[in-house]
């Protein structure tokens, strides 16, 4: 083991052949908001929330699902769904080539990942947008996966949670993308009529077609702190009205103030808050087992912390 491997904490070390994440690897990470240089394991332990300024950094769909669902008994669903290029869209590049490039760089087929699993013991179907894939834009594959996940939730009568992060409808699929708005809204309406809870969690950023469909149709709409969500992008609005936008416009606090969302939830509280809400909406109790698991996890984390500290020591010496 080389000296550099020795000082790397286990969370940062990567075995050969492991899948590359989108984030450039390194021991330090800069917060884009407060510009503090942060020790990466500290950031990761805090679920990618800046320990200094509480900035909620953007995270990928898999990371999102990983920190949200219980560790045991999760399963990816509808991973077979692939994007289609029915228009054979071509601008400067072919859409097909753009798709391949995005697939290669993210390791995902398209911009939505779906899983079923449990949240503190409650069965849930969860979907999360991958913003790194074409800006999390919604075309056929995203709409289809969301819809099938919702239909599964409907059939089994288990709550659905969606973490959205999206620039809107995918323009390369033109009107097919637009129709995904109608499609996802229609299936959400069926959940509503059947009394199956649907919670929409808005994470930075959400605009256009995703905002004007699935993101704002939750029985409960939640946003992470300081997330931006709106129909039209700030540039478009500024160009239209020819004036500067007020500070905090379209941020979570703005959304709360104007009645678009029920609450702002810190990423560290997301599991607890949503579990508590869903337990009440489904008239169920959170299982003791889940709580015990939580304790166990905390112990694991404490152990990891010690391990990390122990491993980083040689650096000081």
């Amino acid at each position: 083991m080389s000296w550099i491997d020795k000082i790397l904490p286990s969370g940062v070390r990567r075995e050969e052949g492991q899948r590359r994440s989108n984030v450039p690897e390194g021991l330090w990470k800069k917060c884009l908001k407060c510009e503090a240089v942060l020790y990466r394991p500290d950031v990761e332990r805090n679920e990618d929330v800046c320990p200094k300024c509480d900035h909620h950094m953007r995270i990928g769909a898999r990371r999102r699902l990983d920190i949200f669902l219980d560790k045991e008994g999760r399963e990816e669903i509808f991973s077979e769904i692939e994007p289609l290029d029915r228009l054979k869209f071509r601008d400067k590049k072919r859409y097909r080539d753009r798709l391949s490039a995005a697939q290669k760089s993210t390791g995902e087929k398209d911009a939505l990942i779906a899983m079923r699993g449990t949240l503190q013991g409650l069965p849930v179907v969860v979907v999360a947008f991958e913003f790194a894939f074409h800006g999390g834009s919604m075309g056929y594959a995203v709409g289809e996966k969301f819809t099938r996940a919702a239909q599964l939730a409907l059939e089994e009568g288990i709550p659905m949670v969606c973490f959205s992060a999206s620039g809107g409808a995918r323009m390369q699929e033109a009107l097919i993308s637009l129709m995904q708005m109608a499609k996802t809204s229609a299936v959400i309406e069926r959940l509503k009529l059947a009394g199956v809870p649907y919670v929409s969690v808005m994470t930075d950023p959400i605009y256009g077609g995703v905002s004007a469909s699935l993101a704002l149709l939750g029985d409960i709409n939640v946003a992470e702190p300081d997330a931006r969500a709106g129909f039209a992008g700030p540039n478009i609005i500024e160009q239209t009205i020819r004036q500067k936008l007020p500070k905090g416009f379209q941020r979570s606090e703005f959304l709360l103030e104007h009645g678009a969302i029920d609450m702002i939830v810190h990423r560290n509280d997301m599991r607890d808050t949503l579990a508590r809400l869903l337990a009440k909406l489904t008239n169920s109790e959170l299982s003791q087992k889940a709580e015990a698991e939580e304790d166990e996890l905390e112990q694991d984390e404490a152990a990891l912390e010690q391990e990390v500290e122990a491993e980083s020591k040689p650096e000081d010496e």
Partner: protein, 315 residues
């Protein structure tokens, strides 16, 4: 340039000027030149046929936005009788970019909802150039739910450059107002017929556009982002709007191939604005035929068909 003609129509405009001039000469000098006028008229028709048989996607977008293009309020009195406009969303205000009300078609009571761009400058301002705000979509929703209660079919006329992108629009929840309409229209227990009469721009159009039957006028357009917007994002310049229009397939021909649009209603030669009465009559007949078909279907079956159709989009 004659502002009533688009650039690709200028040869037609020149012929029309000639015809007009000859008519003036004819009445002044009492010379019989009717033969000559007749010839020019035929020539003009052939030229129009030729130009219109070969329109690009971008040309069609421009016909759809033609300043003389008939709007909802031009069609409503021609298609329906006894139109009584109903106002307001009951929460905030009355958005004049969406008009709605009860009327009759072929004697049968229906709810009519249409986006209205406004004709004269003052009217355009009043109608916010056809860009609805949340209260517009909520008024539409109120009227649709009323139609369901009174078992009236809903007819929507789509023609908007998009939902209004402004501070007040965002404050009052433009996204939610559109999303809510999509959700409710997917299950509203009464027939819904949607017709794109001009410009169907993105979510703003879809907000009154979910139903059992979607038709487009021949030279109308429907897109997820305006060709200019798309060009701006991809090519960083609106000069490429024609390429964007072509790539996105914004015309009824392409959208019918994709199975998104059910029918194309043929326009009079040179576009709907050359003969509004004829266009309105064709739309009226189309609505009556489709209504008859939908009303013969058991309601449950119609609703399940509507839902399954939504589920099938894209595949």
């Amino acid at each position: 340039m004659n502002p009533n003609y688009l650039d690709f129509e200028q040869p037609i405009a020149e012929l029309e000027v000639k015809i007009e001039e000859l008519q003036l000469v004819g009445s002044d000098a009492e010379i019989n030149i009717s033969d000559e006028i007749e010839k020019l008229r035929e020539k003009s028709t052939r030229l129009t046929e030729k130009i219109y048989s070969n329109l690009s996607a971008w040309d069609i977008v421009r016909v759809a936005r033609h300043p003389l293009r008939p709007y909802s309020l031009d069609y409503i009195p021609r298609i329906f009788t006894e139109f009584d406009e109903l106002h307001g969303d009951r929460h905030f205000g009355d958005d004049r970019a969406i008009v709605g009300g009860v009327a009759r078609i072929d004697g049968r009571p229906v709810m009519v909802i249409g986006q209205e761009k406004g004709r004269a400058v003052k009217d355009k301002v009043l109608r916010n150039f056809g860009m609805p705000k949340p209260e517009g979509y909520r008024k539409a929703l109120r009227l649709m739910e009323m139609a369901e209660r009174f078992k009236m079919p809903v007819i929507t006329l789509i023609d908007t450059p998009g939902a209004y992108p402004g501070i007040d629009s965002e404050e009052r929840g433009i996204s939610e107002s559109i999303a809510q309409n999509l959700a409710v229209m997917s299950r509203l227990a009464t027939p819904i017929i949607c017709i794109v009469i001009g410009e169907g721009s993105s979510g703003g159009a879809l907000g009154i556009g979910v139903g059992d039957h979607l038709a487009m006028l021949q030279y109308s357009t429907y897109f997820v982002i305006s060709p200019e917007g798309c060009a701006n994002i991809i090519w960083k310049s609106t000069d490429y709007a024609p390429d964007a229009a072509q790539a996105m397939g914004v015309t009824s021909a392409v959208l019918q191939d994709l199975g998104i649009v059910d029918a194309t209603i043929e326009e009079p030669l040179g576009g709907a604005h050359r003969n509004v009465d004829l266009m309105a009559e064709r739309v009226r007949e189309h609505i009556i035929t489709e209504l008859k078909r939908l009303e013969e279907m058991p309601l449950e079956e119609m609703l399940e068909k509507r839902y399954q159709r939504l589920m099938s989009y894209g595949s």
